[in-house]
Structures are given as structure tokens and as C-alpha cells.
Amino acid sequence: QQQVKQSPQSLIVQKGGISIINCAYENTAFDYFPWYQQFPGKGPALLIAIRPDVSEKKEGRFTISFNKSAKQFSLHIMDSQPGDSATYFCAASIVGNTGKLIFGQGTTLQVKP
């Protein structure tokens, strides 16, 4: 029940295209859903996050869509650029419970020029 399942494992997108990564969770106590971006040799960096009281959050080219009833959320990267090539992780946590993050397995995104 603590798992967060992420798909696809890898993704190749042309420059200018839309990248979509999906995650699903089981624990309905989760109330914070961040997405992290990780480049080789670096730690994860927070990209964007959402709480379950909203269905969508947009920051620049990055959008999170959240479906509470389906227990699913997704990351959309609009106008994907080669510099977006990285590994993306979804995560979930319970705010106020130390903030321990449960991560998905990761998606390796390659944006071709």
C-alpha cells in the first residue's frame, strides 16, 4: 500500500513534443505529490508538486494532472527540449508525518533534437 507505480520506464520524444509520465498510488493518506528531476551524477531536484485539493498545477512548461478518484497523477512536459533529458521520479508523502517520500521507479526521458 506504500508503493507508487510509475510508467513508462523510458521515453523518447522529439524536440517540441509533449512528454507524459504517469504514476499511480494506493495509500489514500498521501497528501503531497512531487515530481523530481535527476541528472546523472546529481541528486533529485524538485520540479513541481501538487496537493490533492486541486486537479491541475502548471509551472512554465511543466503541468501536473491529478485524479484523486483514480489515485493517479501525471507529469506533462510541453515543448520538450534536449535539456529536459533526464530521469524523472514521481513521489508521494504524508505531510506532517516527517515528510518521508515514497518514490516511483523512475522514467528516463530522452528528447531528440
Partner: protein, 111 residues
Amino acid sequence: DAGVTQSPTHLIKTRGQQVTLRCSPKSGHDTVSWYQQALGQGPQFIFQYYEEEERQRGNFPDRFSGHQFPNYSSELNVNALLLGDSALYLCASSLPSGGYTFGSGTRLTVV
């Protein structure tokens, strides 16, 4: 403003040995969490320290232990190393309410 600093960046140890990894949190942060990231996997929570005490622990054996110092810096100790302990060890600092900042990690290789 320095972010989270981890040392060393890389480390090679032999099975059965012991290792200590170090973390200095971001300025203003008083909570330190440690994660293990195996190759090709998402990070897994090891434990969190706040006010020099272990606040929560993930599903890791007692060979994994930690410490937090009065200046909020932290150490992760792993005893009796196994090949399966080879991973990237990430430190993340935060305020008690959350909002993690991750370091670049220590790459541990056990041979």
C-alpha cells in the same frame, strides 16, 4: 547559499567493512533524511533525524545507523557491508514540515 553537501563523493569498500558517510544540511534546515538509490531505481527512505534523534526509520536492517550533531550535520554508518549495499546514498535536508533539498550523493561500491 550552500545547498546540501555530502562527502565523500565516491567510495570503494570491501565486503564486511564498515563505512561512514557525511552530510551537511542546507543553511536554515534542521532535519536530515537519508535515502538509498540503487542503480536504475527510485530512492528508498532509510531514516530521518531531527533534534539529534532518529525520528522515523524505513525498512533497513540495524546495520544501517545514523547520527545527527548539534550543528544539524549528520552521518550514516553501515556495518558489515554487503555487495547489495552498493548504491548512491542521498542526504536530504528540510525543515520538520518538509520541503526537501537533496545533495548530490555518495556513490558507494562494495567489492
